[in-house]
């Protein structure tokens, strides 16, 4: 007695198995990657961010040991005899099954041949984006880590002359002058009024009541006050105001993602869904690499419009297609809101390939001359099982000029999204 020691270990670390679990995932990464790839095809976009069930054939993860095989002669003792008596002969099951009689029911109700387990959302995304690399990410990241912003943070009474704010300083001086001189000026005005009254008043005949003395007194007082007022400095040191700036870390890595989509009549909901999956993949992919991501949705038919996500994917339009309208709008938005010095700019464009033929060369020109120099990467997916049209061929030339920051691929079927996505973002062999 008294020999027992009772310890509360509940606060000790759990997750002692985390390393072993990670080792397991590492060892079977090929199986898991396959499962993840299939899941991406199957899943709806809204729940892309959760874990996944993975099954691996049991035989692939079995740990082999020397054990007995089937055959030979063996005897087993079992419980629960009901009516067998010694010497009874029982037919063996068909199909040559031997050595059975052991209950083979799987404890988890799954096929006996599968080992099933769950991976978490983070693991899912890691496997999903394994081997993929954001183009030109490294360069931007390096720059980003040391970049600061100076943001205004009011005014201060101290500072270097270069930061003197003249207007604010003068305004302060003016106020000070008003403040300090106001009462005296009022007094001066009063006295001057009295003086004027006295001077205009008819002279009194009685010398004893002469105005002259009063006038002199008033004039002296006025002169004294005016001298006082004059001594108030036009600008004083306490009026000086300096602009104050604070050094602020820029968001570690920020990116803006432009989603460009054709919503003209030829784009069916199927096209849009496919495009949507592609955008979501890109978004998740960027999310793995950037802390902050803005998404800009630009839809277009013959003219382009920046819209919210709901409208982007779900409202219907009819009519023809002018792709360049979207590119122009994109450029305008970059100009006004997303300076390439501060933002990593990505763009994904989805279309069924339709465009007014006259417009395609304009698109090529817009891309090569104005947009591509500003962006990290521009990916174009053409969702059509059919032959390419003008736009594609135009873009082929763009790709030749900007192989590092422009890529295009064709998707004929939703199941191809993931492979195409991978192809677009494949780790480039060093």
């Amino acid at each position: 007695m008294g020999m027992t020691h009772i310890v509360d270990r509940r606060l000790n670390g759990k997750n002692k198995s985390a390393v072993n679990r990670e080792r397991f995932l590492r060892r079977y990464r090929h199986h898991i990657k396959k499962a993840v790839a299939e899941a991406v095809h199957r899943r709806s976009i809204t729940d892309i961010e959760r874990g996944e069930n993975v099954s691996i054939p049991k035989r692939d993860i079995d740990e082999p040991v020397f054990h007995h095989g089937q055959g030979g002669h063996r005897e087993m003792v079992h419980p629960g005899n009901r009516d067998f008596v010694t010497g009874d002969r029982l037919p063996k099951p068909e199909g040559g099954g031997q050595g059975q009689g052991q209950g083979n029911a799987s404890p988890d109700g799954e096929g006996m041949d599968e080992f099933a387990f769950q991976i978490t959302q983070d693991e899912f995304l890691n496997f999903l984006f394994d081997d993929l690399e954001l183009p030109n990410l490294v360069r931007k990241q390096l720059k980003d880590t040391e970049s600061f912003n100076y943001v205004r943070s009011g005014f201060s009474t101290q500072g270097v002359p270069a930061k003197l704010d003249v207007i604010r300083s003068l305004r302060g001086a003016h106020a000070r002058r008003l403040g300090l001189g106001g009462a005296r000026r009022k007094k001066i005005r009063e006295l001057e009024a009295q003086l004027a009254d006295l001077k205009s008043a008819p002279a009194d005949l009685d010398a004893a009541f002469s105005h002259d003395d009063q006038i002199r007194v008033l004039e002296d007082e006025i002169a004294r006050l005016k001298a006082n007022v004059k001594r108030i400095p036009f600008i004083d040191e306490i009026d000086l105001r300096y602009r104050q700036h604070l050094k602020q870390h820029k968001p570690a890595t920020s990116a803006v993602m432009f989603c460009l989509m054709d919503v003209s009549g030829s784009m069916t909901q199927m096209h849009k869904d496919t495009a949507k999956r592609f955008f979501i993949l890109l978004y998740l992919f960027l999310k793995k690499n950037y802390k902050k991501i803005d998404v800009v949705f630009i839809r277009h038919h013959t003219s382009a419009k920046e819209v919210d996500e709901e409208e982007f994917f779900y409202s219907r339009e009819t009519g023809g297609t002018i792709v360049s309208s979207a590119l122009k709008l994109m450029h305008k938005i970059i100009d006004s809101r997303y300076s390439p010095a501060e933002w990593n700019i990505y763009a994904a464009q989805a279309s069924d390939g339709d465009n007014w033929n006259d417009d395609s060369p304009i698109c090529g020109k817009l891309l090569t001359e104005r947009i591509l120099p500003l962006v990290q990467y521009f990916a174009y997916v053409e969702i059509t099982p059919q032959d390419h049209q003008m736009l594609w061929h135009e873009y082929e030339q763009v790709q030749a000029q900007f192989p590092g920051s422009f890529a295009q691929q064709q998707i004929a079927d939703p199941s191809e999204i993931y492979p195409v996505f991978r192809r677009l973002f494949e780790r480039k062999a060093a």
Binding site: F66, E75, A105
Partner: protein, 519 residues
């Protein structure tokens, strides 16, 4: 249930009228656990249970899953197979298919037992009785554990092993270490000394002597290969036929650790670690029925004793009995839940019946157990616990009554026959045969193929020849080729395996390729 079970005839029975239960609620507190433990310890002392000091650790469900997946080792080296174990445990638990860990108890001194915080107070008391007094006294008393394991050293050794493996991972890479561990695990069951007593493990000594051993091991291996005489045509052909090792070796891992020509020292050390752990777990594999039976018998007996003393309420007993009944449930052979004989049921039934034979023997018992019938049951049970392993325990103590209660029967499956044959049932002519067959079923060397190191071709291609001796013509399973690949990875040269039944080679396995035909 027999009278003897319901009212254990223990010393100084108080009147159950004086009920002063330790607690009436089912919520546990540390204070209540301590009180229950004290009372259970008093009851255990009445029955002369000798235990190591206990260390009861209260843990959460997640921690229990961790403990589960490291085969109950409180500290373990990292390996993917434990991760696999963890994944299947946590999945089973999350789906509610598996009640988590009735208990985990570690054969160490002090004896560590885990209590899960989710359990109710009666469950905690049950686990304390089962693990801290049942298993604990078994670890301390059973001859296999006394001979083969060193309870005071195991934790330190596990820490040593974990650190050593992780150092190797840093130095040689995770993959290289994983490969060696995979191969060792494949041969782990054949990495134990079954007959020879190993030297006890000690972490301090291991660490101290490890460097020494590094040099020593390498030198020894080099010596073996250097001193091989040059192939000499004139040499005595008899002498040339002498095998190495001269006697077959049962411990494959030991043999490889000491003799594989190309292994680096750290690799030998890892083999040694796996081998030591296999040896540590070996007694548990041979005493599952006894160990669980003993622990179950004692939680049942001790808590009933608490009830007699008025220390627990009726409600407590109902909850306890419900868990107890679930633990000892044996589905019949034709049930969808049947997966072999439940070791808890078999062990518990034998110990309970042993007590009955001592306390209220029948004529049948006197005939079958003349030495035991009517003796002091506490002494007899302790004797049975201390001096046997599953095989001999069943052979010695399985009574006709238990065979009848469990309705045991034996089925013969011969690949030369079209049908199964019922060879014995729970009746007078069948008892002895049935008992023998069931005992044999628990003989590890019957359950696992007998494979030994037969010869090393010292003068030739350095190949390693293993020999399998089949029992009852039972061949090796389909994993054999795969295991041989692991043996080959460790040995570094060709590995061959022959099944030799009564002097005839019935099957051959080779890795990586069959040997050239000799003209």
């Amino acid at each position: 249930m027999s009278d003897a079970i319901d009212r254990p005839n223990a010393p100084d029975v108080e009147s159950p009228a004086i009920r002063k239960p330790v607690s009436t609620s089912s919520e546990w507190t540390f204070e209540l656990i301590r009180q229950y433990d004290e009372e259970i310890a008093k009851c255990a002392a009445e029955f002369g249970l000798d235990t190591y000091p206990n260390q009861v650790e209260v843990i959460s469900a997640e921690q229990m899953m961790d403990a589960y997946s490291s085969v109950g080792m409180p500290v373990g080296y990292n390996h993917w197979s434990f991760g696999k174990q963890f994944l299947s445990t946590s999945k089973g638990y999350q789906r509610g298919q598996m009640g988590l860990a009735y208990e985990i108890v570690i054969n160490s001194n002090p004896c560590i037992a885990y209590l899960m915080e989710e359990n109710t107070l009666p469950m905690q008391a049950l686990v304390i009785a089962h693990a801290c007094y049942g298993h604990n006294s078994f670890f301390k008393g059973n001859y296999l554990f006394r001979t083969w394991t060193d309870a005071s050293a195991i934790i330190d050794y596990l820490v040593f092993a974990r650190n050593y493996v992780s150092e190797c991972e840093e130095r040689h890479g995770v993959d290289a270490v994983e490969q060696i561990l995979d191969s060792c695990h494949a041969l782990m069951n054949h990495g134990v000394d079954r007959y020879k007593r190993p030297s006890p493990i000690s972490a301090a000594k291991e660490a101290l002597r490890q460097e020494e051993r590094e040099e020593y091991l390498q030198r020894r291996v080099n010596d073996l290969w250097r001193t091989i005489p040059k192939l000499d045509e004139d040499e005595d052909p008899v002498k040339r036929k002498k095998r190495y090792p001269e006697e077959p070796q049962e411990n494959l891992l030991y043999f490889i650790e000491k003799n594989a020509p190309l292994l680096e020292t750290w690799q030998r050390e890892i083999i040694r670690i796996v081998r030591k752990l296999a040896q540590y777990f070996y007694p548990q594999r041979q005493t599952q029925v006894m160990n669980e039976g003993w622990a179950t018998f004692w939680h049942y007996t001790l808590l009933n004793r608490m009830y007699e003393k008025g220390l627990v309420t009726d409600g407590f007993m109902l909850e306890f009995l419900q868990s107890h009944t679930a633990v000892v449930y044996q589905p019949p052979f034709n049930s969808p839940w049947y997966s072999g004989i439940n070791p808890y049921t078999l062990g518990f039934s034998i110990f309970i019946d042993l007590r009955r034979i001592c306390e209220a023997p029948t004529d049948e018992d006197r005939e079958w157990f003349p030495d035991i019938a009517g003796t002091d049951w506490v002494k007899t049970l302790h004797f049975a616990m201390a001096n046997f392993k599953d095989e001999s325990f069943i052979q010695q103590f399985l009574s006709p009554k238990v065979m009848r209660d469990l309705k045991l029967f034996a089925i013969e499956d011969d690949d030369m026959e079209d049908s199964y044959t019922v060879t014995a049932i729970h009746d007078e002519p069948g008892y002895r045969e049935l008992r023998e067959k069931l005992a044999r079923q628990y003989n590890l060397s019957y359950r696992e193929p007998n494979i030994q190191v037969w010869n090393v071709d010292l003068r030739g291609d350095r190949s390693l020849m293993l020999r399998h001796v089949p029992v009852d013509r039972v061949p090796l399973g389909e994993d054999t080729e795969e295991v041989l690949r692991h043996a080959h990875r460790l040995w570094g040269f060709d590995v061959h395996l022959e099944s030799v039944d009564e002097g005839t080679v019935v099957e051959e396995y080779h890795c990586p390729h069959p040997p050239p035909l000799t003209p």
